[in-house]
Symmetry: C2
Subunit: 515 residues, 2 copies
């Protein structure tokens, strides 16, 4: 993705409209980026009592941005472009920009302001109910809100795309062009392989044990250590920051301003280390998008699934590999001499390979994690399609969990109430996590073929080759291709679950001696 070549003549009328449209979208992006800063500050820096006014500040910015996005004159210019010569004969970036901006505008302009406001308001209250409901493990506190959220999101989908499957429309927000039937079919294959792999790992004679990582790791030493790791894999601190939050995230507030966060656990090194590898993976993607197109489709991420592929690739496929620990171990031992003295790189790496069915998604290992996701995907899809009522969610959750994990959640807090997503209106979001794992495995397999020295490079702390490959195959293309197209072009093969299956089986099966 590069900027269009300098024009040798003056702009045509159509190019002039294109420039106007881009200017308008860039102005919207400026406001949206300020909203991002408000959100980042709220979660990292803001004093406790400033929350109420922060909500007003965010709402004011959101309203201004929404007004720009749905400005009818903007819609007219977009329609003119779509019917004009650039939509057919422009550069690839121009054609994609025209098509995607028209699609975005149509989705947003079809939604009555009343519904936008009702969703925003309801989700704020639903999330408050969730905080209480989860703390008290009280399903009845959350249920009425969840019913409203699902109803409103179904209404939203019906407005946005009257002729399309409701769940696909919701999914489209996070995974453009995604289709639930295709995802369900990929997931079914994946599940049929993962369930026996988990059982095999559970029955293995020698199972990895992470006691080594539960010794004392002073937080101040962790801070220096993980920052050095982030720098080494390529995260640019001249264009980003690392801060502390309870729930780690990555947020972009400008073309040269991408900020990640992590949490710290003095008694468990992986919390911060893998948190930072994950968020820095997101950050590398953001820092690799074409800055000159910031706020426009060629400068935006392709999808949440593709985004998650970048974070999971660095977290799991790089960060848990023996080669990585060959390089990283001396650094870690220098940072934590008390905890790691007398250990070997292989011992530490083996600690990271434990597989154990557990209740909480965000604490799950790399293998069982996908079972958590597939379950949520099936349940939310069934509710959106009217096959399952919100009232029946807890039972459906517990039954499915027992089937996949072999035991029932002891409480709603550890079961159906554990995630904030549904109360936050994030319906159609969960499958992007496992799609990300699949894309990551498929990309890593292709990178391994293209870069025969990859393992040796990683073992020497040389990550530039892999990053350059990702920049070239993924980052620089922005949102120009659909996720499936992007992954297929990057890897030379259609999207498939088989790379993830192979990767999990090879790595976790080997660590448990059961392949």
């Amino acid at each position: 993705m590069s900027t269009p070549p300098p024009r040798e003549r003056g702009p045509s009328p159509s190019e002039r409209v294109f420039d106007d449209v881009c200017g308008h979208v860039r102005r919207t992006a400026v406001l949206a980026s300020v909203e991002s800063l408000l959100g980042w500050d709220e979660r990292t820096m803001m004093p406790a009592r400033a929350a109420a006014y922060r909500a007003e500040q965010s709402a004011a910015l959101a309203a201004l941005a929404h007004r720009l996005r749905t400005d009818p004159a903007h819609g007219d210019r977009l329609a003119e472009l779509a019917a004009g010569p650039l939509a057919r004969a422009g550069s690839p970036a121009q054609r994609a920009t025209i098509a995607l901006l028209n699609k975005d505008f149509a989705r947003q302009a079809r939604v009555p302001e009343r519904l936008v406001e009702a969703i925003a308001r309801t989700c704020v209250e639903a999330q408050q109910a969730w905080v209480t409901g989860r703390a008290e493990s009280s399903w009845s506190t959350v249920e009425p809100w969840l019913r409203q959220v699902f109803d409103l999101k179904r209404e939203l989908a019906a407005c946005q795309a009257p002729d399309q499957d409701l769940y696909d429309t919701l999914l489209d927000e996070y995974e453009p062009g995604g289709r639930w039937r295709e995802i369900a079919s990929l997931f079914a294959q994946l599940r049929s392989e993962i369930v026996p792999l988990v059982q095999a790992c559970e029955g293995a004679a020698r199972r990895p044990d992470d006691a080594l990582l539960r010794r004392g790791y002073p937080v101040s030493d962790q801070k220096r250590f993980v920052r050095e790791v982030a720098v080494r894999i390529g995260f640019d601190f001249d264009r980003g920051r690392l801060d502390t939050t309870d729930h780690p995230f990555c947020s972009t507030m400008g073309p040269e301003d991408c900020r990640i966060t992590t949490r710290w656990d003095e008694r468990f090194l992986p919390t911060a280390l893998f948190g930072v590898l994950h968020e820095a993976g997101h950050g590398l993607y953001e820092q690799g998008l074409p800055t000159e197109w910031f706020g426009l489709p060629p400068g935006e991420a392709a999808s949440l699934g593709v985004h998650e592929s970048q974070s999971r690739l660095w977290e799991n496929l790089v960060g848990r590999s023996p080669a990585f620990w060959e390089w990283c171990f001396p650094l870690a031992r220098a940072a934590f001499p008390h905890a790691l003295d007398g250990c070997s790189p292989a011992e530490v790496q083996r600690c990271l390979m434990a597989v154990r069915p557990s209740l909480i998604r965000v604490e799950a290992d790399e293998v069982t994690y996908n079972l958590h996701i597939m379950m949520r995907f099936d349940l939310e899809r069934a509710v959106v399609h009217g096959e399952l009522s919100v009232a029946d969610l807890p039972d459906a959750w517990n039954e499915r969990f027992a089937r996949d994990f072999g035991f029932r959640p002891p409480s709603a807090a550890e079961g159906v109430l554990q995630d904030i997503h549904w109360c936050a209106g994030l319906i159609g979001y969960f499958p992007t996590y496992t799609l990300g794992n699949m894309f990551a495995a498929q990309l890593m397999a292709a990178a391994g073929r293209d870069l025969p020295e990859l393992d040796r490079d990683v073992a020497h702390g040389r990550f530039g080759g892999l990053l350059a490959w990702l920049r070239d195959r993924v980052h620089r293309h922005g949102r120009l291709y659909s996720p499936a197209e992007l992954v297929a072009r990057a890897t030379g093969a259609p999207v498939s679950e088989r790379w993830l299956v192979e990767s999990l089986r090879a790595r976790y099966g080997a660590a448990h001696g059961c392949v």
Copy 2:
């Protein structure tokens, strides 16, 4: 200042217009507060390369806020209010709000957008020229920019108030209702007392020496120590923060969100300690303004001079007092046992009383500081009034400096180029610093009369009585009274320089054994 009592009947038409106007101003304040956050983030957190886009974000917010502020419909409603019954018979807060909003609107609406933009653009470039010019001590780099800035600001003043003295109009931005002739007369009195005091201190046989404060003070210990001091004097960290910057400041980004900064010098304890006392003094004022009126005159500071009185009161009149060090010394010794072991509170306090004519305003002691300010005030006023050309500023500076301080600046960088204010367009700003010192001394004298236990309270670390007095006499009144009126009401006497003269003479004369 309290909120209006609940209405027993429905709002009158005039009250309805008042509510509309307040709503509009509050919406402007939301955008302005987001601009504040952008500025704070830029100076404390932002990654290096994000500066260019940050300028776009700030400009976009500023433009939106300016559009709201100068909205003609808003002006019509304000005019309607000014002619209506509330302007005569409303509550004091309503009357002041109507009068002040009309004044603000008139000033802003009279200025053509072209001039607003020219000033903004020129000041950005002039500040860049200043950075280079000061680094190279090159007056000729700065001179043409300074000429433009002074010309533009004169033009601005002529637009804003065609019938008023130009310098008074510029001053009004920072010190509402201030008149240069009155200030000049106060300053002349003050100068006639300070010059001999400085000479007496210089000739004193035993002069305070601050070597004690130039030992090793580890920054991490300073951070804990100054935070504890800030909490103790009343700065509320649930509604604020303390961060690190090269140039300390205090900035408010919401009714419950006031953030201060400081810098740290491992070899000089006063840098951070008095920096924080100063900024926390500003912060206490901001935190004491009526939150329910945030963004409206009853919720705004009265002037920069009054603001500075709060910072200087805590920094100098509290923080350098023997009583303060009786309380603070054990805390300091516990924080810095190596540096302070074997010292006494009196020794430390005496270190803080050194008077020494020096080149740089921001490093000056409490006494000579005012000579720096009075000189800048006379020079900038003369330029605005056309009595002195910008080209002649360096010579005029050096001559005046030699007269007041007894030696000539060796370079422009240490003379006329040392401050960014003029290049930043801050003309009429300097006198507020010394006005602040005068107000502070006058307020502290009155507080001392009203609170007979004040010294004993401070010696025990009890600052609540003084803070409550300031809240009652100053903070809660917002911008309802002019600075002179506010100080006179708070202290029972018209504004005068004599409290500052007495305070400096008593404290510094005594420390030098020359009273």
